[in-house]
């Protein structure tokens, strides 16, 4: 499969810190790709370099097989920045027409598409057409919708969304999720950065976890989970885990780590432990087992483990939001 984005060993150093260090990524076309990392990991810097807004100090970036600095290449990319904003005094249609024209869409085609999108996202209904209102007259939620349209109005092959779900209301989050799935069905590539593992886990075909500007792991969701190399059991007991049950869960012969989330207890098995013998030991200890399930580690878990392995306190000191 040809690559939507190919990043070959890019680095970017700012005055006081290294934002991205020797990062390589291969993002196949037609995938939903998650760029995961804590705040200050270098996600936004990476995205800005893909878009040729910033120039890497070293390394190469190709989009759809062409160097990203080549004229017209970034026109095939749609971008929704983390910090969203539009010309407040312009009317919605004029802003969108401007953004579409910047991407090379002829005005007539742009107007048709804008009308289509405004109707689809209910910004232009029979009762009220917000397309002719100034951006500043719109609610925040409506402005977010306009921004989605701005990123998609030129029908890009690659869509890059920087923290798309932060500060979205649930309705817009749902709308955005639907759009992402639809883009994927249409064969487009969607790359989004997030620090919300739940949304990444639900949406992504493949992910890359980066922290402190360095790639920690990448691959399909299954690969990333498998590469993590831990076996987990999700448990639930009637009446909770106390007394003898708790003692079994603390036995290092079976268990490496326990994460009790009240409704579910996630247990990392010790390297040589046999899950069958753990189940037996629990029953022997008098526990009433409601759930005993061998599970893949959650993305959240992989993320927390990988990132905290990098820095003891689990919250690497990020640089400025650059």
């Amino acid at each position: 499969m040809p690559l939507a984005v190919s990043i070959d060993r890019i680095s970017k150093r700012f005055a006081n810190h290294v934002a991205v260090r020797d990062l390589s990524l291969q993002i196949p076309t037609g995938t939903v790709y998650g760029l995961l990392g804590p705040n200050g990991a270098g996600k936004t810097t990476t995205i800005r370099m893909i878009l040729d807004v910033l120039e890497p100090d070293s390394g190469r970036i190709e989009i759809l097989g062409a160097p990203n600095g080549q004229p017209g290449v970034v026109d095939r990319v749609g971008y929704l920045p983390e910090e969203r904003g539009l010309y407040r005094r312009m009317t919605v249609r004029r802003v969108l027409l401007f953004l579409a024209q910047l991407k090379g869409v002829p005005p007539d085609a742009a107007r048709r598409r804008i009308d289509g999108w405004l109707e689809r996202l209910q910004l232009a209904t029979p009762e009220r057409d917000w397309g002719d209102a100034r951006v500043e007259e719109l609610s925040r939620g409506m402005q977010q919708k306009v921004q989605f349209i701005g990123a998609l109005v030129h029908d890009p092959d690659v869509v890059i969304l920087d923290e798309p779900f932060s500060a979205l209301d649930p309705i817009n989050a749902q709308a955005l999720k639907d759009i992402i799935i639809e883009l994927k069905r249409a064969g487009k590539t969607v790359i989004f950065s997030t620090h919300l593992m739940e949304s990444a886990e639900r949406l992504c075909d493949a992910v890359c976890i980066i922290a402190q500007g360095t790639k920690l792991v990448d691959g399909t969701l299954a690969e990333v989970r498998q590469a993590h190399g831990i076996r987990q059991v999700a448990l639930a007991f009637e009446g909770g885990a106390d007394g003898p049950t708790a003692r079994v869960l603390r036995d290092p012969a079976f268990v490496q780590h326990v994460d009790d989330s009240n409704q579910v207890i996630e247990v990392d098995l010790a390297p040589s432990a046999d899950p069958q013998r753990l189940l037996r030991a629990l029953i022997d200890a008098g526990a009433i087992v409601q759930r005993f399930e061998l599970v893949q580690p959650s993305l959240h878990r992989v993320f927390v483990d990988r990132v905290s392995a990098l820095t003891p306190n689990g919250h690497p000191a990020g640089g400025a939001d650059a």
Binding site: E83, G85, R89, R94, A151, A320
Partner: protein, 427 residues
């Protein structure tokens, strides 16, 4: 190029459509017109001053000179004679004068005119009054007395009074005209005024539109729309597009101002007559097409030098207070240049004026000023334009470097050291 055009087009159209543009385009010419109208109004009132009819004329000539002066002062035969004319014998002159002095001090009269006994060979004429410093009134009074003394002498020499009146009736005003190597250049005073006006308009326009560029960049940065736009165009394109678009707005506004002024000046007599103000006799200086072209070139280059720097400042700061502080050095360059306008007008050939013509920050204002005042050798103009183009290039280069880094940097404003680093850094 296409994207540059789209950015500039948006900038231009959105500004032209704004209420601000309409208001300022109508308001600026209206205010200028009002100022000119008020000035003309008071000037025309001043020349028709009624004050002079409230003086005492003490006439010791025994020739009726005082009566004739009084009648001319009051507007001739049909005039309402309110000037007090007293004929006295020469010995009573001193007493009459001291009475008149007391009346002036008491505020009953504006002043008094003394016509001494002799009209031949040397008349003794003097005036004292509260309005003695009014040059317009005094020169009018002097002219009238002068004319009437001549008329009196002619009558005394036996000439027919009617013939005397006919021959001495002369309403003349000397017009002045400036001669340069290029030929006639219109009225001397007026050309200085117009030069000053041109320099001032250049200064105001560069400052005003530089500020608009600064605010525009700051707004794009603050609303974060810049990030969306630079994902489609290079930061440099956005920067130049903005400078171009705002520049086009400035050009449009100046063109409107120029057209309105041209129409008004061309048709001033009938417009002013309708407002009951006498049109001044204007000998407008003739501006050579080449000078006019140079003026436009200097304006464009000057605008680019300053607006690029203002744009860089807009990209550096994140708040209004920071903007005020950081723009100080650039604003000072402009203000200092403006302070030199007056010295340069009076000594356009001085070394100071010469030096200021080669500094890119002052030449866009000083050079057009000098060009409209004195002939300047072509090579000096070329040198001045050369340094200005180089200055333009440098200013745009610096601005582009600061802009592309600053635009996406938020938080505290950068220290001068950081800005220097931006200048060296790649994107």
């Amino acid at each position: 190029m296409r994207k540059l055009w789209i950015v500039a087009h948006r900038e231009f159209v959105e500004r032209i459509r704004s209420r601000w543009f309409i208001v300022s385009t109508v308001l600026v010419p209206a205010l200028l017109g009002l100022v000119i109208f008020i000035a003309l109004y008071f000037t025309s009132r001043a020349t028709a001053s009624t004050d002079m009819s409230h003086i005492t004329i003490i006439d010791a000539t025994a020739t009726g000179l005082g009566a004739r002066v009084a009648s001319v002062l009051d507007g001739g035969a049909t005039g309402d004679t309110t000037a007090l004319e007293i004929d006295v014998a020469p010995p009573a002159l001193a007493a009459a004068e001291s009475t008149a002095t007391r009346e002036v001090i008491a505020g009953k009269r504006k002043g008094y005119l003394v016509l001494g006994p002799a009209v031949w060979p040397k008349p003794d004429v003097h005036y004292a009054g509260s309005n003695a410093t009014s040059t317009i009134d005094m020169s009018r009074l002097q002219r009238i007395v002068h004319d009437q003394i001549i008329a009196t002498r002619l009558r005394n020499a036996g000439m027919d009074p009617h013939q005397v009146d006919a021959l001495t009736a002369l309403d003349m005003q000397m017009s002045t005209e400036r001669l340069t190597a290029h030929g006639r250049g219109g009225s001397g005073e007026l050309s200085i005024l117009i030069s000053f006006f041109v320099a001032f308009v250049l200064y105001m326009t560069i400052f005003f539109y530089g500020q608009i560029v600064l605010r525009g960049v700051m707004e794009e940065k603050q609303t974060r729309v810049a990030e969306t736009v630079v994902s489609s165009v290079r930061p440099e394109t956005l920067l130049f597009g903005k400078i171009l678009g705002v520049g086009a707005v400035a050009a449009a506004q100046l063109a409107i101002l120029a057209i309105v002024s041209a129409v008004f000046i061309g048709d001033r007599a009938s417009i002013l007559a309708r407002m009951h103000v006498a049109a001044p006799a204007l000998a407008l200086p003739h501006i050579a097409p080449l000078t006019a072209l140079l003026l436009v070139v200097y304006f464009i280059l000057g605008y680019v030098v300053y607006s690029a720097l203002f744009a860089a400042i807009g990209s550096m700061v994140s708040s209004e207070q920071d903007a005020q502080q950081v723009q100080m050095p650039v604003a000072m360059l402009l203000v200092i240049t403006a302070l030199f306008i007056q010295p340069v007008i009076f000594t356009p050939e001085s070394t100071l004026a010469e030096v200021l013509s080669y500094i890119p920050f002052s030449s866009p204002i000083i050079m057009p000023l000098r060009l409209s005042l004195i002939p300047i050798p072509a090579w000096r103009i070329a040198l001045s334009l050369g340094t200005l183009v180089a200055g333009c290039w440098l200013s745009v280069w610096i601005a582009a470097r600061i802009y592309r880094t600053g635009l996406l940097m938020y938080g505290k404003r950068p220290s001068p050291r950081e800005v220097l680093r931006w200048l060296r850094a790649s994107r």
